[in-house]
Symmetry: C2
Subunit: 438 residues, 2 copies
Amino acid sequence: MAQLIALFLCRCRPPDVVVFPRCVEEVSALAKVCHKHRLPIIPFGTGTGLEGGVGAMKGGVCFSLRNMEQVLDLHPEDFDVTVEPGVTRKTLNAYLRDTGLWFPIDPGADASLCGMAATSASGTNAVRYGTMRENVINLEVVLADGSVVHTAGKGRRPRKTSAGYNLTNLFVGSEGTLGIITKTTLRLYGIPEAMVSAVCSFPSVQAAVDSTVQTLQAGVPIARIEFLDDVMIDACNRFSSLSYPVTPTLFLEFHGSEQSLEEQVKTAEDITQSNGGSDFQWARDTETRNRLWKARHDAWYAALALRPGCKAYSTDVCVPLSRLPQIIVETKEDLIENRLTGPIAGHVGDGNFHCLMVVDPNDPEEMHRVHLFTERLARRALAMDGTCTGEHGVGLGKRALLCEEMGPVGIQVMQSLKDALDPNNLMNPGKILQREEP
Amino acid sequence: MAQLIALFLCRCRPPDVVVFPRCVEEVSALAKVCHKHRLPIIPFGTGTGLEGGVGAMKGGVCFSLRNMEQVLDLHPEDFDVTVEPGVTRKTLNAYLRDTGLWFPIDPGADASLCGMAATSASGTNAVRYGTMRENVINLEVVLADGSVVHTAGKGRRPRKTSAGYNLTNLFVGSEGTLGIITKTTLRLYGIPEAMVSAVCSFPSVQAAVDSTVQTLQAGVPIARIEFLDDVMIDACNRFSSLSYPVTPTLFLEFHGSEQSLEEQVKTAEDITQSNGGSDFQWARDTETRNRLWKARHDAWYAALALRPGCKAYSTDVCVPLSRLPQIIVETKEDLIENRLTGPIAGHVGDGNFHCLMVVDPNDPEEMHRVHLFTERLARRALAMDGTCTGEHGVGLGKRALLCEEMGPVGIQVMQSLKDALDPNNLMNPGKILQREEP
Ligand SMILES: Cc1cc2nc3c(=O)[nH]c(=O)nc-3n(C[C@H](O)[C@H](O)[C@H](O)COP(=O)(O)OP(=O)(O)OC[C@H]3O[C@@H](n4cnc5c(N)ncnc54)[C@H](O)[C@@H]3O)c2cc1C
Ligand SMILES: Cc1cc2nc3c(=O)[nH]c(=O)nc-3n(C[C@H](O)[C@H](O)[C@H](O)COP(=O)(O)OP(=O)(O)OC[C@H]3O[C@@H](n4cnc5c(N)ncnc54)[C@H](O)[C@@H]3O)c2cc1C
């Protein structure tokens, strides 16, 4: 149970110093000092990460980047913008409001965009718009020795490139272990002419997931398709004063022109009904839509509210679509057998779902059961060609699972990349890879 | 002019030995022998690459992978498939025909899919479906020492993952310099219910490119939008017995349901007409559509036919959309001023276009003019926040330009990754990075 406990503890482990640089030159100068004195560096975005990524395992200097909060170089006609690490996704979208553009990646939390790049975040809109991997065009990164690299060359923002190794996607998802991201250039999208959301209840998990797969197979460019199991919808009903039937449920959203929406919706509704789903409950106006998605985004707090005083830990497996019904059904049985509270919410269009484990941190026996459960769940996903983490990252808690997932050569390759870019293991040490410094 | 000449010459530089392994175990065993004897390894797909990537700069062993030609592990319900390096995109699509699925990335040439991964290829469909970067889920790679790595873990194929460093996208685009790709797992798509193509003529380059940008801004999910300048369309008319007006032209293609096509086409047609474009000339039936795209894919040969006995070299810059009209207009002026034959064809939805330079390899003075022209063009793209290569890769000819594009720290980072994975510089030495072995 070492990992889970480490995860809870690390939230409390403070760094020795916190610095608040205001520009890349200051980040670089501070990194050089750390490099000289061999001090660990822990980049800090908005602290919403779920894998203990900002814990200072060996003390050191936390770089809080919240004072770098400028939106730079908006190019509406090229669908791109560059932001500093203090800019969150909500701030950016508020800034963009009058341009007809938006940045759709939405992990629920109002995370910093550079932190989202650092964890390769995604969330509810990924089924349509992709993850951070597909939407970061360039990064400015301060390396462990204080030097500054632009992963696609300084100021560059072509929509595609084959110019040498893909450094951008090496730093996306590197969780602060390879460098400090001080700017990210992002791809933007036109705000759809129309959006509608709907809720649909199902007789079984299988029926809900089958509807998801068939909707994608039919080529419906659905923007969001979120699964909530009976326990989760019950928790959301209570927390957000809703009254949906307490059965497996899909929250859906469609983006497009008025006309194309009609067609998308009709296809999706036919499919859900052929699987025994209820009629769609509509959220057409912005206010009702916002209430719906707020309830979905508050799932974490709704889960916590099931057991006041407890803490939550989210699992994050992701499997090929066809394996979803089986893994969700088995996982629900496992939860019941082991008397655990773990409502399920998932980005099922990507094969990704979370059990929001609500656990009493003062009950070591329950903690142990949760730990064994999360390991079983991850191994179940690995046995189905999946991954232990679809979007939250490895952080501390999944380092051992990463070894199982990648195999020894894969881990060796990762370690050799880490050693090449950070030979003294100063960048966020102890995250992703387990090996102690050389 | 060293680079261009090197490019032409290297096409003739043979390796010392060619091996034809039949499975990953043989590739690995052979790589171990090369490693032991410090012999360079040059992976060879179908040899359609345009940057001299398969030239044996230092002799060595060419690994021709054409005997590994199995399609493995098709999972239609998960939209993925795994193929060996002898499988080309046409073979795969023929194999998939009855499944209702296809792999859309289309560089024109019938390239091997692993070679396409190695060069980060894209082509005409990228504006809708992305490039190889967005469509490779996993790779099996034999490293310089003969060990075998699976970049997303063996057999894994989740639609998304945040599990450690993104090794998959480090090997995509590495042009054989980091390892030999022996399997690639690809994302598939449902064959659209309907497809229609159209041709539209414009009074100016600006009008054609403005139409492209506005079509994308309007959110039309266009599948292909290809620009041909007057010289190119003239060459295609001659080569493919067509009779389009000799002016800047767009070839377009729309994918979707019957109903959504109607709306897409209407929006695009309104936009092109407001920019002075002609009425669409339709290609609705498969045969006419195929003839149209065959003509586009034959552009290279149409260009060559302009000057029998000459050779062709394609430029490959890519810039933000808004810069396209200016760079194309300036480039056309440059071509005329310097008396060069360089018809222009471009994937303008991505900001990427090619001048197909037709040049007499026995005329050193003309070769010199072409070389200076390609450098000016690349620098023009770099000055507009673009890249010297949108899809063909760096190979031999663009190594110096890559240094300008990335800056010294970027090159250092790339070199340190290369050194970490291939310390003896055995994998396709001399490509991408210029440095001699340590
Ligand atoms: C209620 C809730 C719901 C969530 N739902 C989702 C979801 O649906 N999908 C999803 O993907 N995530 C989700 N998350 C997780 C979280 O929002 C993401 O991981 C987010 O990307 C973290 O961003 P941050 O700025 O808060 O990073 P932090 O928590 O500050 O840091 C996370 C990691 O990234 C590193 N890091 C941060 N900034 C930088 C930087 N500038 N340079 C280098 N490294 C950096 C840190 O060192 C750390 O390792 C959720 C979180 C909460 C609380
Ligand atoms: C007429 C024509 C039109 C073209 N149009 C386009 C276009 O529109 N878009 C586009 O992107 N490209 C285009 N190309 C270029 C070409 O088709 C692509 O670069 C293609 O990806 C090369 O694949 P290949 O299998 O032929 O690779 P090769 O030519 O055999 O090799 C290319 C490079 O990849 C490496 N390589 C090949 N296979 C492997 C492997 N299994 N493992 C590791 N390294 C490997 C080689 O060492 C070399 O460096 C065109 C080419 C032609 C001839």
